[in-house]
Subunit: 212 residues, 3 copies
Amino acid sequence: MHVQYILEIIGTGLFAVSGSLAANEKSKPDWFGVTFIGFITSIGGGSLRDILLGAYPLNWIKDINFLYAVLTGILLASIFYKSFLKLRKSFFIFETLGIAMFTIIGCEKAMSYGVNPMIAAIMGMFSAVMGGVLRDVLTNEIPVIFRKEIYATACLAGAFLYLALDYLCVERNLNLLLAMSFIFVIRIIAVKYNISLPKFRKEDVLNEKIKI
Amino acid sequence: MHVQYILEIIGTGLFAVSGSLAANEKSKPDWFGVTFIGFITSIGGGSLRDILLGAYPLNWIKDINFLYAVLTGILLASIFYKSFLKLRKSFFIFETLGIAMFTIIGCEKAMSYGVNPMIAAIMGMFSAVMGGVLRDVLTNEIPVIFRKEIYATACLAGAFLYLALDYLCVERNLNLLLAMSFIFVIRIIAVKYNISLPKFRKEDVLNEKIKI
Amino acid sequence: MHVQYILEIIGTGLFAVSGSLAANEKSKPDWFGVTFIGFITSIGGGSLRDILLGAYPLNWIKDINFLYAVLTGILLASIFYKSFLKLRKSFFIFETLGIAMFTIIGCEKAMSYGVNPMIAAIMGMFSAVMGGVLRDVLTNEIPVIFRKEIYATACLAGAFLYLALDYLCVERNLNLLLAMSFIFVIRIIAVKYNISLPKFRKEDVLNEKIKI
């Protein structure tokens, strides 16, 4: 089997783990709720990308292994719940790898449909973040990408790096490695040093501070 | 005309009745709001299923009778509002029949697109519950399937029963009857005896109780 | 270039301006959040219409100018933020023109897919209002169309007028002008005189008043 395929399946399982952990923290739903939300979190981003591109059939519909990966992820999240919470730091690193991979794979898939590179970068970012957006909408929260924004911006930046290097004829596997590392490093640094993008309107923020 | 078609049209109308009653209870919107939410509740689940499958054109877009059924349902909900509220119990039974029917029809439709039976069962469940999920997202509520969870789980179980009996070559009409009755009975019993699925994490629930 | 195409691009940019202003008022997100929400607001309605119709590829995916229009709109909203807020009245007029145009163009596009005129009118209305609905769902608010309802109803009414005049063989450009003016005038009057549709259940509203 192809390495990329195996990585995609593993990434889907990782997303299911983090989706079900997040679902459980928020509203303590039952098994069905956690499974449903974990499922949507894992396959939501890629599905939205494919629906927007008209790229039928969707991955998880044509290949049952994606569903198995999701169910395995949720089962592992249930069994090793406490360990996952303890190993949150290590888990965060795996999840960031998953996000980086989904971005670049999504970007590549969009390019194969002949879209403009800017659109392909957006599609890559959508693949990585829209599952989480759907999860947050379903659990009635403001999507996390509007709060921890560097997450989605890192995906966009990495997708653009990938496209630039591809344009410069960098070999594909090297390019994948470079662009994924780029996303990975930006996100880790942003979280470690609590870096965020500037607000849209600085004065408003200042005014608010003065009011308080 | 085919019996199944007539049942589908009636089921769509029933969903519009329950969608508009639910919309009105929640936020007392005006006529437009109730009609819009009733419409999304009725056609949302089947539309999502067809978009995921790439099954174009969507039912309600190709066949205007679905729209007439929705509008009739909303009109009836307005005229017989008090009667519907009084007859809530009888109405609940009709609605459960509608849910059971949508599940099995959705599952069959997905199978006709050659998907894996597990995916077909998910598609059947989506057909029955996603209209309600969209209604709840639009009215800014936690989707009811995360609270009254046995609802969606019953749909999944019924879809699996249908697929199992189909695999065992049970005659289609008998199978439809058996699987729909199964969903119907599970839901009625679950509501009557207030049965719900176990929580994802039991200890957390216990801890919370101790804290309080 | 075709006049309609230029108008569509301008309309998309206007939607991005109003989307990013609305996003900023609500939750003071950062640059990424405002851009993301402005983008969804502009292209959400048309994308949903095209996904429902199966009209691939989506406009903004096949034609990069839509993305440029969105980004220009967001940039202008940032630079001329205070002017836009001061000129809110004039801006409201441009936005209403945009809504009217999106409705009729959406309705025409649906007709070109051979759907029933009632479905085409719904698709026209979806094109104009669903971007705003998605924006409100993402920012965790009750969609504005359930509160300022005359907005969507005006779109529906204008779409029906367009279809009626088209049926009566009124020349297309004249028809576009008439139907768009109709939507424009209804919305302006409704906002000026604070007109809204009747509530779905009058007695309930009365009871509530008595209770208070």
